[in-house]
Point group: C2
């Protein structure tokens, strides 16, 4: 067996110790004689796994007691609908910051459920940037303000939490959650698909402040009614049990690695190295304003795009996989989630410099 360095934007690399443990326990979880995949979600074994995962997540993010933690299904795209259904009420309006593709998808879905005000537009131009907060057209009567903390496709990331006063702040954190410490108390709702920083696709984390529960509009699908799911410990319907278990193993790995402070150092170091290598070359270029460059997703282009195909083929042959940029923007993208070791970034930089020497 030879593991590669997998720079996929998601589903993405997972910690090898997590995969090893999952493989070892696949047929018999801790003497139960069953795979976690086979366990009733109501049985004491799985209830214990689920509760431990929630507690570990609460510990890692220091989630305040007045927040519920839900493990749901449907991905962030599901929550694009669930957010307005749970928060807009019958006549509410919501503010959205538009900083890229995922913001736009959230906005399009929310428009199916109510009135949306795009309070700021960014994440385009060259370099791409996020408009300054004093230019945002926020509505003090909005039911909430929504933003995407990290745009996975273009690598545009908020390094500060937006200030929205009394209006609840809602964030899609799919591609940045758990990459560093976070002040959860600044948010009304945080949601994230698991498949980038903490588990398999199909599991969706929702962290919601308790005073925002119970506002769901009639017709909200039961599985996304946060209040009903909170009441049922995320088991109103059968949850994605195996993915929840894998997420729990990732949370335990994060704790062993030193928690989110350690992860922040690890991620900052990887990102700074790669951006420095790109900025130190005329052959490679990152099109994002340094003030909002993502730690998690680093897109870059070659000065001569006719070399893209060769770059990707040779990188792949060198064990550096899934570096192709999103089809909507082209070029390359290296995703550097928690589970990407620093050795992977070093190997990528070595390859890039070698490729430039040979083909630049």
């Amino acid at each position: 067996m030879s593991r590669v360095f997998n720079f996929s934007a998601g589903p993405a690399v997972l910690p090898e110790p997590v995969l090893r443990q999952a493989a070892e326990e696949m047929l018999d979880w801790q003497g139960s004689g069953m795979s976690v995949m086979e366990m009733s979600h109501r049985g004491k074994e799985f209830v214990g796994i689920a509760a431990q995962a929630e507690q570990d997540l609460r510990d890692l993010l220091a989630v305040p007691d007045n927040y519920k933690v839900l493990f749901l299904q449907g991905g962030a795209t599901g929550q694009f609908a669930a957010v307005p259904l749970n928060l807009l009420g019958d006549n509410g309006r919501a503010d959205y910051l538009d900083t890229g593709s995922w913001s736009k998808k959230a906005i399009a879905e929310a428009r199916g459920h109510g009135e949306v005000n795009v309070a700021a537009e960014g994440g385009s131009g060259d370099p791409m940037s996020i408009p300054a907060p004093d230019a945002w057209r926020l509505d003090p009567q909005a039911a909430y303000v929504h933003y995407c903390a990290n745009e996975t496709i273009t690598g545009v990331e908020f390094h500060d939490i937006p200030e929205t006063g009394e209006v609840p702040l809602v964030s899609d954190m799919s591609s940045t959650i758990l990459s560093r410490p976070l002040d959860v108390s600044r948010f009304g709702v945080i949601y994230a698909g698991a498949q980038k920083n903490f588990g398999p696709a199909g599991l969706t984390l929702v962290i919601v402040r308790e005073d925002l529960l119970g506002r769901a509009r009639p017709g909200t699908p039961a599985i996304w009614d946060w209040a009903r799911q909170a009441e049922a410990d995320s088991m109103l319907n059968t949850p994605a049990t195996y993915s929840w278990y894998i997420a729990g193993l990732v949370f335990q790995w994060l704790k062993r690695e030193g928690g989110l402070e350690a992860m922040a150092e690890h991620n900052r170091r990887k990102a700074e190295k790669l951006y420095a290598a790109i900025d130190g070359s005329d052959f490679y270029r990152n099109p994002v304003d340094p003030a909002c460059r993502s730690w998690m997703n680093v897109p870059f282009v070659l000065a001569d795009s006719s070399l893209d195909g060769d770059f990707l083929a040779e990188a792949s042959a060198a064990g550096l996989k899934t570096l192709k940029g999103h089809r909507s923007v082209g070029g390359m993208r290296a995703s550097l989630y928690n589970a990407m070791p620093e050795a992977g970034v070093d190997a990528l930089i070595d390859f890039m410099q070698d490729f430039e020497r040979r083909r630049g």
Copy 2:
């Protein structure tokens, strides 16, 4: 390692060869250097896995070409909302057959989205039964007729497909799909959560006749808009990739085992044995009319319910797990999905007879 006989109603036992293969491939799928869990859903490896799983399912069920097969998220409970959202239009009415708990949940959710006519009520009384079709109050103008093919909690199963003329028939087959051959052409829509007969919880199969696509109401969450998902090969958003892969391994196992004809024989034999043991005793009792007894879920009660606790504890000690009946009905329940070997049923019957000798 010692595997138990797991009679859970779902999530449920999976074929041991599937679990072994999943464990072996966990860190390195077929030389890719990645777990399937880590693969981009857009990469050629996963696209191949997904397409193979769909083809194998189509082969097993002989799905006609004018049906789309979707691999979605959110479980059957999600589809309880998705069905009316996709099929009711603005002023449609739907007929529902109510034969138990899951029918009632589907009805409650549908009422959040339109007008529901309960065309027949059954699955209660003693013995529980399904009303004869000539007593159903079907509306020839209904947008569809919905029924739950197998009520997992009470073990009430339709052994014939309802006749609804030109009105599309929609079925929740979560706990019976793939247990025997099925004439898919009789249906407008079939849906099923994976966690009983073919995979991990969190994956949801939808088989839909093409002429029923494109009717989704505005505001239908994108991930459940069948037409959009069909257009995107179930990848409008990131699908539950690992669960899709496990389902694919189960489909390959089913083919190796002889397909659904062989599975029908295997399941019929297991169920007949267990019902015969129950009927041959005054100590045990199954409360369902023999005409609609489930092959998949066999509930039974003890004549003296004060022995329930001892029965369950001793069964568990004997390696016969998860036999407790659903909390809403009590008693016991043995679920006999495809992956439950006949040896498990034999061991259960031996235990039951021994328990009766000792305690009856």
